[in-house]
Symmetry: C2
Subunit: 683 residues, 2 copies
């Protein structure tokens, strides 16, 4: 099989640029406000073949260039090689059949592209584009090419990522204020198609993730006024005299205030999505939890395309902190390695590093940790080898902003984010130190894996942990404080969550954090599903299944009660309904389909169902279901390429898996699972 | 006046990429084989206005984005500013009329462009795009925008550089071997236009800078086989059913072997050029010299477009060493500052520096020196301030490859070029050290100009000069050797030329070099017009006018004798005619219109006419004509914005200039020139 090949990382940088330029708001675009990595416009591929007989090939390219085939000239009559010419070489056009002689040939392919991604596809019996090719941009040594399994045919264009699409009709039409509200029944990311039966007429498309938003003609976030001619082509175009197609937008509702026109036209939506595998199922005796799983899956599928993005209406950007959570959810839903790789590469961009990923200090650290996590999930050594130089330079970049205690601080221009929360961000803060410590662990793990010395990072890790305890642990409060330099000794949930999440605390410290922070209502509550993820994860780790389940049901259930059919960027139960869609000072600024809202998938899969790998890529794995939270449940979960099926009903637990290496743990009992055999147990 | 504005340097990087991708050879493209600098795809412009009354503006952009207008909210009732919101802001689309209130406003413009150069044009009475705007790519502080005087209207597209064009008809048709040879009378850079009176028919366009090349259907360098359909659109396209237009190519002749078809069609060429000002004229009593001036001017005009390129058929690339000479010729022909700035910016690309300019060590050094030269010619402090950070980082880049003697060496991947000549390139070579010394002088001059301390470079310069003499001066041969580490003590003309050119030698050393190297036939002759430039310049400096004139007449005249109507990349008088167009192992590989062939313009203007600035930008200047070489001459030469006219006939010299500050020097006599007054002298 042949692949389209490119400079490694540049496919992801190219599409990452496209993705990060795609945000739309009220008739204008809003490209991401950080340094966008540039793909290379001019590169050179190379390979060597020792041909035993003549062979033919054709190179197709996106861009300008040529193919150069060369070999060493024959030995002279005295048996030595004459000094000149060094090579016998011949250049060819793209698209022509090239016959390569039975020699030791070097093939170079030169491609440059002003507007897009330079890339090549080579068809031939022996000579073809695959992972044996190397490439450079003329400024470094040759390195292995980039490629992926989606682009394997010469007629494809790697600049167009292929989505599955389906035409959706509105499920309901409703006359409101003289206009018509179209409801597509569920949120979709779609191009809107308008068919005018007779002559064109002006109309306005008011989109809404919520009914309220679509009906708010003035303030809805996405809106397009369509004229009979002279529409801005960036937002869509006429496909024919009578058919107009808009750009891709996320919505459930469309309101057209011009009722007379709306009654005449046919309105359709072409929903576009990546058809990720359906690897997981979960149902239980609690219908509310079942609905939360369903809506989480819906939310996550919508937010997962070529990359893991934050939300589908807004920002549509690739954010490292959001992606970090998506990697975990993915592990329990799609188990798709490719979207992880694409997202990791797009986020990272090029060396030298111009600024923290998304400008956010914590997001660079999450990126580092994600490499170890990715390897643990997939065992994909090829990718880790490829990305490691960028991991090392990222660590180096971060290490340029350490103080005398080894604490990482934000420089001017760095965003020390953590969460939308009232954290005391004076000086160096404990949250970032925990992430840094975890990043050192990722470096240690990956360096060991690659056979590199890791002692430097081990001593950095030890020293950092010592200093965290020295400066941030507050005995009086029995918890970590945010900042020691402000003197406020403020305790937030966030750093204490990290400490437990990363297994850094003693039993005694954990106990203290649990009671003095996590179960303490005087400590400000987490308001984002983003940090709820980590908070509930550690509560589950600490065996607080009831707490976690109640929280899932009340917090995510609370969104359902407010009509959510996907989960939101932020939810504050106390917020009045008329403000519930607002954020960033914008009445409809909140994203109502936000990837980080999908964490119940992970929490249920990892803790309630209790599935976890016990070695790399699930070569061995353990399943330790919680049999107290639900009277009955049924699930399917991915264990790498295999599947685990479990059913619990009337105290009867049955487990099957088509993968070797599993063990079931119930209380103190361990039961090995055999591939293909049903295991049953009455509890 | 408003300008299109962009990230400074990116207009030149964008067009530089286009230029460096434009090389064509026998039906394929050959993008330049060095690291191509990337223009930024996403940037943000900003400006502040303190508006006394409401004002309107419109922003047009190439790319996606929006306009953000913001101001601080009013003071609270207690006279203080509330902490939130920090700004009152409103976003607008491109193309809409924006009314800005009478406040202290900050305007940000966000633009991103996947395919091309993000840039903006702002029209308004008060608010408009000019040099007061600042810009960043989100990774650095804001810096002043880039702009130029060619893009000042909203309907323009900065991605299309505007050329003057003229339709040319062939001046002769000749039947050869059943085909037809079209002669356009002179070399041009043109799109070929084919008009088919009846139905389309297949034909082949064989181009030639020379007649021989066009007639060589197999081996001509540029060739296109035109089919009736399915032609490769990269090379041209049908404008209508019957009219096909090719891409731009350089040629004088076109041969169409299909005579029957050629007889039917109409063949035209649309010659495209930048109409640089005609600032210079020169004629004298020697017709051969007049012709050399004419052909030099023709050569130079053809090679000067948006950038100074090397040659017009091949490579069409921007080479720093070639450009360095063009800056000097330009000073005596167009006196165009803009093409210098464009070329300097395109060559330099971005920080961090990935490799030497064009991969060539000497070419980075020429680039450094060119900044001082540019300032001396123009006095353009704005540009020097803008480019200085890139000058500093280039010097820093070079200083990373110095040995213990302070000598610069080539690292693996660096091309130590100097010239196509047999130079002993073992270890560090003297040629590069002279260029490094001259670069230190450029740093000293520019740092002084900017009020920066220059002592570091002064001591580097002194130390380097000492070491050059210690290691490279060979007393026995009375000359500098190329390499001291090889033990060969080989003397080439090149380093000795640099030593004298840069005024580094004592009178005694100069005398020795003159006789033992320059006038010594045993030292290999210079074979390129490139180094002939420097060789003849120092001979002229040393007063060897007769030698220089004879050389010009024999070397450049030799090309004329071989039918040249533009000057060549290389000329070896001893080379047989059948090989005269070959280079790089290619029968027609030689460029017959090569910028560095135009140096007689400079040699005549600077030495025979004797015009030189004696202070920055010709605020004062001296004219010291050589009255012995020609019986009579007449010239016009630019002195910055002014012109110097001189006539010499029957021992009568008349000089006029419309610029203050001139002095005429004849022998030991100095005569001040008055603006607008004719000065006459009988010698």
């Amino acid at each position: 099989m042949a692949n389209w090949i490119w400079y490694p990382g540049d496919f992801e940088i190219y599409h990452g640029m496209k993705q990060n330029f795609d945000r739309e708001e009220r008739g204008f675009f809003w490209p991401a406000y950080w340094k966008i990595a540039e793909f290379r416009h001019s590169i050179k591929f190379s390979n060597k073949y020792n041909l035993k007989e003549d062979t033919q090939f054709i190179a197709s390219a996106k861009g300008l260039g040529h193919v150069n085939v060369k070999w060493e000239p024959p030995l002279g009559p005295d048996g030595t090689r004459p000094p000149y010419p060094k090579w016998i070489e011949k250049k060819y056009r793209f698209g022509e059949i090239i016959t390569c002689p039975a020699k030791e040939v070097t093939i170079d392919i030169i491609v440059a592209n002003m507007e897009g991604l330079p890339c090549v596809f080579i068809e031939g019996e022996v000579i073809k584009s695959d992972c044996s090719w190397i490439v450079n941009d003329y400024s470094h040594d040759m390195i292995p090419v980039g490629y992926n399994k989606d682009f394997t045919r010469p007629e494809q264009d790697p600049m167009e990522f292929k989505y599955t699409s389906v035409i959706c009709e509105p499920v309901a039409r409703e006359v409101v204020d003289g206009g018509i509200l179209f409801d597509f029944g569920k949120e979709i990311t779609a191009e809107t198609i308008l068919r005018y039966p007779k002559e064109l007429q002006e109309l306005t498309l008011c989109y809404g993730e919520s009914r309220a938003e679509a009906l708010d003609v003035e303030l809805c976030y996405l809106k397009q006024h369509l004229m009979t001619e002279g529409n801005d082509e960036l937002f869509g175009a006429f496909e024919s005299d009578k058919v107009y197609r808009t750009k891709l937008r996320a919505f459930r509702y469309i309101f057209i205030p011009e009722g007379d026109v709306a009654r005449e036209i046919e309105l359709l939506a072409e929903y576009k999505y990546v058809d990720f595998p359906h690897r997981s199922k979960f149902t239980c005796s609690d219908e509310r939890v079942n609905r939360i799983w369903e809506v989480s899956e819906e939310t996550f599928r919508l937010s997962s395309g070529i990359f893991f993005i934050d939300g589908i209406k807004r920002d549509r950007w690739i954010w490292s902190g959001d992606a970090y959570q998506s990697y975990f959810i993915n592990q329990y839903l799609f188990y798709d390695a490719d979207i992880c790789k694409r997202t990791i590469l797009a986020l990272r961009g090029n060396d030298p590093i111009p600024q923290h990923i998304n400008t956010i200090l914590d997001y660079s650290l999450y990126w580092l940790i994600s490499i170890e996590n990715y390897y643990n999930m997939t065992g994909d050594l090829e990718f880790v080898q490829m990305i490691y130089p960028k991991m090392e330079s990222m660590m180096q970049y971060c290490s340029n902003q350490l103080d005398e205690n080894g604490f990482i601080y934000g420089r001017p221009g760095d965003w020390v984010f953590v969460d939308w929360a009232d954290i005391d961000k004076t000086g160096t803060i404990s949250e970032e130190q925990f992430l840094l410590a975890r990043s050192y662990q990722a470096m240690i793990a990956v360096r060991k894996l690659l056979g590199l010395d890791s002692t430097e990072y081990e001593s950095l890790f030890d020293q950092l942990k010592k200093n965290i305890w020295k400066f941030y642990w507050d005995d009086a409060q029995g918890a970590f404080i945010d900042s020691f330099s402000s003197g406020k000794k403020k305790v937030s949930r966030h750093s204490n969550i990290f400490a437990v999440l990363f297994d850094y605390t003693t039993e005694e410290e954990t106990h203290s954090i649990l009671h003095k922070v996590l179960l303490n209502d005087e400590i400000s509550a987490i308001t984002t599903p983003y940090f709820k993820f980590y908070e509930l994860e550690i509560m589950a780790k600490l065996g607080q299944y009831n707490y976690v389940l109640e929280n899932i049901k009340s917090y995510w259930g609370g969104m359902l009660d407010r009509g959510a059919s996907t989960f939101w960027e932020e939810y504050k139960p106390e917020e009045p309904i008329e403000q519930q869609y607002g954020m960033y000072g914008d009445k409809y600024g909140k994203s109502l389909c936000h990837a980080w809202g999908a964490s119940p998938i992970y929490l249920i899969g990892r803790y309630f169902m209790g599935l976890r790998p016990t070695s790399i890529a699930y070569e061995t794995f353990e399943i330790e279901p919680d049999l107290d939270s639900f009277n009955e449940f049924s699930c399917e979960l991915p264990v790498n390429e295999g599947t685990l099926r479990m059913e619990y009903k009337a105290k009867q637990l049955t487990v099957t898996t088509d993968k070797e290496g599993g063990t079931l743990k119930i209380g103190d009992q361990i039961y090995p699972l055999k591939k293909g055999e049903l295991f049953a147990l009455t509890t």
